[in-house]
Symmetry: C2
Subunit: 335 residues, 2 copies
Amino acid sequence: MTNPVLVEVLRGDIVESVHRGAVAVFDASGTSVLEIGDGGQPVFPRSAVKAIQALPLVESGAADAYGFANKELALACASHGGEPAHVDLAASMLSKAGLDGTALECGTHWPSHQDSTLTLARAGRQPNDLHNNCSGKHSGFICTCVHLGVDPRGYVAAGHRSQQMVREAMQGVTGARHDADHSGIDGCSIPTYAIPLKDLAVGFAKMVTGQGLSPTRAKAAKRLMAACMAEPFYVAGTGRADTRLMQAAPGRIFVKIGAEGVYCAALPELGFGIALKAGDGGERAAEVMVAAVLSRLLKRDEELSKRLAGMARPPVLNRKGLAVGALRPAEALLA
Amino acid sequence: MTNPVLVEVLRGDIVESVHRGAVAVFDASGTSVLEIGDGGQPVFPRSAVKAIQALPLVESGAADAYGFANKELALACASHGGEPAHVDLAASMLSKAGLDGTALECGTHWPSHQDSTLTLARAGRQPNDLHNNCSGKHSGFICTCVHLGVDPRGYVAAGHRSQQMVREAMQGVTGARHDADHSGIDGCSIPTYAIPLKDLAVGFAKMVTGQGLSPTRAKAAKRLMAACMAEPFYVAGTGRADTRLMQAAPGRIFVKIGAEGVYCAALPELGFGIALKAGDGGERAAEVMVAAVLSRLLKRDEELSKRLAGMARPPVLNRKGLAVGALRPAEALLA
């Protein structure tokens, strides 16, 4: 099926570009709450499932052994901006396991947070793997290995114990097959598996409620979700959509973006999990989509719903900072 | 109508994202050569029409009066990367009119060319309007005003003589209405007008052949197109698609990207003009689309066509530089 237009990009009063996509909202029992477009098509969730991928860190006892609090757990679920606080915390996590940034195998890139890039350059410095937006997740992988007495070297490979644990967690929570035929390599070098949006939505409903999970897993899942909601700066960073959305209603909204226009989200008070993808991979569209869906699902809280609806209509600015247009949810996305 | 999928983004063997769009190829007489999707829908051409917007610079005699050669004319048609050579040449153009970068009204942003941004930061410097990707075009506007004895201040406004001349050139070449009802403000603060892709394609066929234009305009048009093809570095910059595509067949391919997934292009040997838009505004998709269309139109030159087909399939790299996927033209885009 052809997914509907869910986001319009306006310049003046004229629609300049459009984004199509699909949205799936489910509860933990697998009951559909809201479906727009094709929720059955497999998508690579990319970084949107980092909270699920962090389950072994908690379940193995590594997080407790190393004294990780909400900030460290949030960073393990993060796509951070490479701001100094992110980089320092990733280094601190690795130091608990007796290692440093050279143990990371995620690759290097300049921080997405531009001021942090400029600050590095002004100091005559280069980025390293700690600046990679995935360094918190990878630090979690490494700490889990070290705690379990597993050699972390090569931890990004599909056959390494680290990724076997991650895959088991992903399969257990989402119920979806994770086999080589549905896999690709993620930006940070670990495997990623294409699975239906519906399964991702059910999985995040389970993560936030604990329903349908073993007691140990339920506790770990709820702890990770709570950590992200308690420390949203460490999940993304200054000015980022994930951070702003979770700050809009502390403890009531979990969101996590993934590359190529994916979002996973959860609403503890409703017990709903949300998964969506802008079909063209547009991050700006995914941000509008998730804010609009949250606004729709939380409409009983009029003030919060209105604030989220506002976040679903960000301005398009020109080079002088003048608003020359805006993004907005298309009809199919509104209640 | 719903435009077809024209570009697929693969991770491993799996299609991760797709881009829809439309393509129009016409000759200068208005005869259709190739149409995919809806070529009648108005689109904002954005920076893809800078060569048409530069006509007054040549037609007014300003370019000759200030001794502008191919490099300056290419820069007047450019969305440059803010590399030192671009910035210096824009400053040099303004100096011919007795002005400097403070006369620009395009706004400031860090260079899109990352090494140039890092070099600026390392030197403790900030960008100014000369680093704006549109500074060459704006320098052309200002030089035209000064040559004609028109006060350049406020030259970005729709009612200023500068934009009246630009609008007259756009209407004359494309034949499309340019009225306030179809206008928006561009990233660099000048007006932009939504017009059909078909009219843009016919316009660029006229630009590259001179057919259907007055002798003066035909000469100016062909001079600007030739300047861009002779100096493709000044139209974009290091590693950029426009520069690489024009370098692939010197003097035989003109291309110019516009924001929100637009390309205008022309093939002098065939007398064809090309206009296309990725409907979601994706630049990566527009780059694949234009390379694939050029490959298709130039198929009689097997070697060149093959090289262009290769440029239409760029790899997707992960943070370690490993190819983990690729973009490719979808079936509807291939001959």
